[in-house]
Amino acid sequence: MNVKEYISTGIIESYVMGMTTEAEAREFEALQAQYPEIASARDAFERSLEERLLQDAPPPPAFLKERIRASLDAVQASADADEAAADEAPVRRLNPWKWVAAATVILLAGSLYWAVTTNNKYESLRAENARTEALQAELDQTKAALTALQQDASTLQKPGMKMASLKGTPDAPTAQVTVAWDTTSKDVYLIVNNLPQPASDQQYQLWALLGGKPVDLGVFDVRQEKLLLKMKNAQNAEAFAITLERKGGSPTPAGTMTVYGKL
């Protein structure tokens, strides 16, 4: 993996500023644990951001600190009350009003504690859900890719399937293509083993040859996501060839022949 390139994509800044997707963030965390260079670039950006934000921020009003201290005391007191409620040995006698007061405090503390834990649970559930969704999407994609491959495999296994290996001509010595022809349904499939990328105004075209005459089987692009590329049907064929034509194809072969092979 090219660490420099990864760093230069802006991922560091996005991660630090909380602007990545869940998946990007997980990937970043894994990579920075593996590559110290990424972690130190992250640290450097964080420091410069921190420095800038600390440098010229207007000071908060004086009363705010007291207000926050008071609200923290309340949070802490409810946590302490919870602990105390759990620890206390119930031997003392109290008058009824004290019971009511104590019950109220405990109830209040309990509901505060409940609110806090429910909120925490909610937040972790939310994160968990996002993770599950991402995993589901990944699984769906994998399933779809697998199904496509299985379909291609069963096509190739059909009885009556004939294969022809098309070898490169002197014009394209490294080119190689495999043609599969279903003698029952007459379907023609193509597997591109190796073909150079054509110019943007050109496209490859497949031909079936019968008695020396070419029959058009359609044009195709080199970069294919599927393994098998379905072409036009061929009623009969002795050999196959591919020529490089202008985009969209030609009625009869006019360009250079790149591969040729007998059935």
Binding site: S8, T9, G10, I11, I12, E13, S14, Y15, V16, M17, G18, M19, T21, E29, A33, R42, D43, F45, E46, R47, S48, L49, E50, E51, R52, L53, L54, D56, A57, P58, P59, P60, P61, L64, K65, R67, I68, R69, S71, L72, V75, Q76, V116
Partner: protein, 178 residues
């Protein structure tokens, strides 16, 4: 008694995890201004802004155990808490209703003017130097919390373009910071 201690970040975090009040006071004294500034740039109303800062510090106190130094610096962690709390506040029903009571303001996006006391410091000041198209995306994404998807749909530009422009804007931001 009044001698102010200074802490290494690791030491400070350890003390905070033990709920040490002095460490928390130190945290407030050193970072409240910066966090206030960030909140204020998302929540312009001063009173509400103070409420949010209070919530942020309570969150920090409660969630300090979840802070993981492997993932980033303490300030970054707090900054993200502050940003999320501010965006949540601005989106809350109460806040939206309070806004309706006020006279309609010019759309900030259409007329990007510097609001005195809000945009003239911190990150916004740096962002003001970005190209319009970049600044608008950072504003929608960072300050208003919209997802890339939502931005792409709202502005009717491809998702890929939103991502590339935002990344470019953030890289520029880094060079402006250093």
């Amino acid at each position: 008694m009044n001698a102010k201690p200074t802490y290494e970040e690791g030491e400070l975090v350890a003390l905070l995890k033990q709920k040490n009040e002095q460490a928390f006071g130190y945290l407030y004294d050193n970072y409240a201004g910066a966090l206030c500034g960030v909140v204020r740039q998302i929540v312009p109303d001063v009173e509400i802004c103070h409420d949010v800062v209070q919530e942020v510090f309570v969150s920090i106190w409660r969630k300090i155990d979840t802070y993981d130094a492997q993932k980033g610096r303490l300030f970054t962690w707090m900054l993200n808490i502050a940003r999320n709390a501010s965006i949540d506040k601005v989106r809350s029903r109460n806040y939206q209703q309070a806004l309706k009571q006020q006279p309609i303001d010019d759309n900030e996006m259409a007329h990007p003017v510097v609001r005195q006391g809000i945009d003239d410091y911190g990150l916004k000041k740096v962002l003001m130097k970005l190209k319009d198209e970049h600044r608008m995306l950072v504003d929608l994404s960072y300050y208003q919390g919209y997802t890339h998807d939502q931005i792409a749909k709202a502005l009717n530009i491809p998702l890929g373009t939103v991502k590339t422009r935002l990344r470019a804007a953030l890289i520029q931001l880094r060079t402006m910071l250093t």
